[in-house]
Symmetry: none
Subunit: 416 residues, 2 copies
């Protein structure tokens, strides 16, 4: 049986009904009822193709096809949770394509390959708990139980409480499945592109070489709240005016590192007290710096620290404090898997390009412990985390073919 486009299409459609709002946006925040409904539907599909469903303590779903050969497993998959008012393909496309690959391997009774396992990572998006890649980081050991316990949603519900509320059996010693990297040959993820690079270059597939990692800052600017009518222009300590210089500085620093594909953004800002008749006394800013080049990120941070001193010198009475909230390392993906995705594209005859991923994916956590690969499918809308996110069905077919060919080759390798 070949890959079935109609089956892919139907499953994507059915999944897109779950968590859908009036504007066709999808909200399936991790561990909420709509997320559970999506996981239930996926579990039913797994059972229908004849596999067992395993769920670990943080909610990662596993479904393994035992090959007729012993040896390490080849893992494929992505996630089903979404941001608030997101699109239908981010994460979901990778899960449904991986399921299709498994189903074809089963239906065609492909022998002489290693075991292949679908994994659906829990809580990939940071939207609910402010922490991304929860399932994949937990599985691979980079998010430890004591750290997991510190994350809470806006209603102050912890990740662990939400797991328990939804019937997951969480226990900080049992939560992780016995994940032994030596027993895993590698991980391959298919994902919709979250920008318009492929759409602009007219190519269906982007093979990822590096994944950018965020450095996140909180900058607190302290001036002095004063009456906005009474304090003369040359005798005030306006925290917001000083913050405005920092916003433009961060934009400038990001632009100066554009060649390294670095981006730097002030994404959020809070003014205190924020009254119509008071000069802002304190401003808190949140900054997101991302790059595939950790030197470039470090340059931005170093320059920022240096130039901020100048702003404070020029504005008497203004103080600034930079808190580094997180500083993650960019990830270089496995060269062998990259080559095998390329070979698959060539075999199918689909044009591709090599590129980097500016956004994080579960593949990033997996790459820290096992050889990992990632490729993008063209996004014809050019936007993601947005109800407008859109894909061409032909590209879904092509992408699933590429995943299938890569998995077949990779799982047959070294098998006698």
């Amino acid at each position: 049986m070949p890959i079935s486009l109609s089956r892919l299409e139907e499953r994507l459609k059915e999944m897109a009904q779950i968590g859908k709002n009036k504007e066709n946006g999808i909200t399936r925040l991790a561990y909420t009822d709509s997320d559970l409904e999506a996981r239930e539907l996926l579990s039913n599909w797994i059972i229908q193709i004849g596999l067992d469903v395993h769920i670990d303590g943080v909610g990662n779903i596993f479904a393994k096809r035992q090959g007729n050969k012993n040896g390490p497993v080849v893992m494929i998959g992505s996630h089903l949770d979404t941001v608030t008012n997101g699109g239908a393909f981010d994460g979901t496309l990778g899960v449904i394509s991986a399921l299709e690959v498994l189903q074809v391997l089963i239906e065609d009774n492909i022998s002489d390959i290693l075991p292949v396992e679908l994994v659906v990572f829990a809580c990939e998006e940071s939207s609910r708990f402010g922490c991304s890649l929860v399932g994949s980081k937990y599985l691979t050991g980079s998010l430890l139980p004591e750290k997991l316990e510190t994350y809470h949603d806006e209603e102050n519900t912890s990740i662990i409480s939400s797991l328990q509320q939804k019937g997951f059996i969480y226990n900080n010693t049992l939560a992780r499945t016995t994940f032994i990297p030596e027993n895993v040959k590698g991980f391959i993820e298919l994902h919709i592109e979250q920008h318009d690079t492929l759409a602009k270059s007219g190519l269906a597939i982007g093979i990822i070489e590096n994944i950018a990692a965020p450095t996140r800052l909180k900058i607190v600017v302290t001036g002095e709240a004063a009456h906005s009518g009474a304090a003369p222009m040359f005798d005030r300590k306006d925290a917001l005016a000083a913050a405005a210089e920092v916003i433009l500085l961060i934009e400038k620093l990001g632009r100066s590192e554009a060649a390294a594909q670095t981006v730097a953004t002030v994404t959020s800002l809070k003014v205190d007290p924020g009254n119509m008749n008071v000069i802002p006394g304190t401003v808190s800013m949140f900054v997101d710096i991302r790059s595939i080049n950790s030197f470039s990120k470090k340059r931005v941070l170093a320059e920022l620290k240096e130039e901020i001193k100048g702003i404070c010198l020029a504005r008497e009475g203004i103080k600034m404090e930079i808190n580094v909230l997180s500083e993650e390392e960019p990830v270089n993906l496995d060269k062998k898997i990259i080559a095998q995705i390329k070979t698959a594209c060539q075999k199918i005859g689909v044009p591709y390009q090599f590129m980097n991923s500016p956004a994080g994916h579960d593949c990033m956590a997996m790459a820290s412990v096992v050889p990992s690969g990632l490729f993008f499918i063209r996004n014809i809308s050019g936007v993601s985390h947005n109800p407008q996110e859109m894909i061409d069905l032909d590209d879904v077919y092509i992408g699933t073919q590429v995943l299938y060919e890569t998995v077949r080759k990779f799982s047959a390798e070294g098998v006698d």
Copy 2:
């Protein structure tokens, strides 16, 4: 009985307990429980000195001493509401000094003067509803019922609903007391200075000649929300970076008009969506421009409109909309009352200076219908709308003396 400094001090202390937070800041936003508590305390003091309390439909409090002479009333007073985390003297000092003046007139049984009336204006600060001088504007007819109905706080509660929630009997035909300007001889207000002009010049009293008036704007900057990792630096529509240019532009325009004593401030800013991983799509800013020179204010606004076009031209995809929320005219105070305050200072032997008020006061609304005067007491901290706001007790005594002498003279004038 002379003016009692200990009584003034005790009342200031007792009032400063209401709405006090841990850092000794005071929050008595208009028509909230703490504001009502302050009004209750003041009403009790009024009753203790033997006067009746009258409250109109927007919450202005009146207490009149009938002189033994018929004729128009001399009004004195200020307000009790505060900004968020403000100081203990803004408004309150003027109310408590005026109460002291009334009490001394009563205790000394001063005859041959006109009626003197204490007025405590409701909702002077714009902090809660974005509209200042609500009580005094309503009383004097410059804030009409249909306009009053349009103001709401952050929780979308209207001024009228908050009045009704707190038991005020609001009725758009009955709310205003019968305020007939012909029956009012004039209004005199004592207020703490909100900057450090007097402290720097070493003088206790500043006699105000003109009051600056605010022009208030809401500027909405629209860009496009996008993934802060995926959108390259040169292909994004960052509303916050564009807003930062506007903040610095407004500061520059204020500085360029410093000779006209004009000030221009972005006092508050809201970022949407404000998530750590999303480029800001929309920014709303609130701008406060003040001057005693209306031409200078108009120049700032005209320049702002012009230069904003340039920012939008340079940042493709960014749109900005300026909404003028209010545009008030600067006020010249009554020359005769100015002269009488000066005479009072000379009689007491306290050094004074003439100056302008950069901030608005209830006196401004009163001046539109009756002869009005205003004088400042030295602020030793130099800041207001800030928990650090501070006054020297000697100056409280001196200021109350000046108010008393001015009122005595003004209320005896033309009385046979």
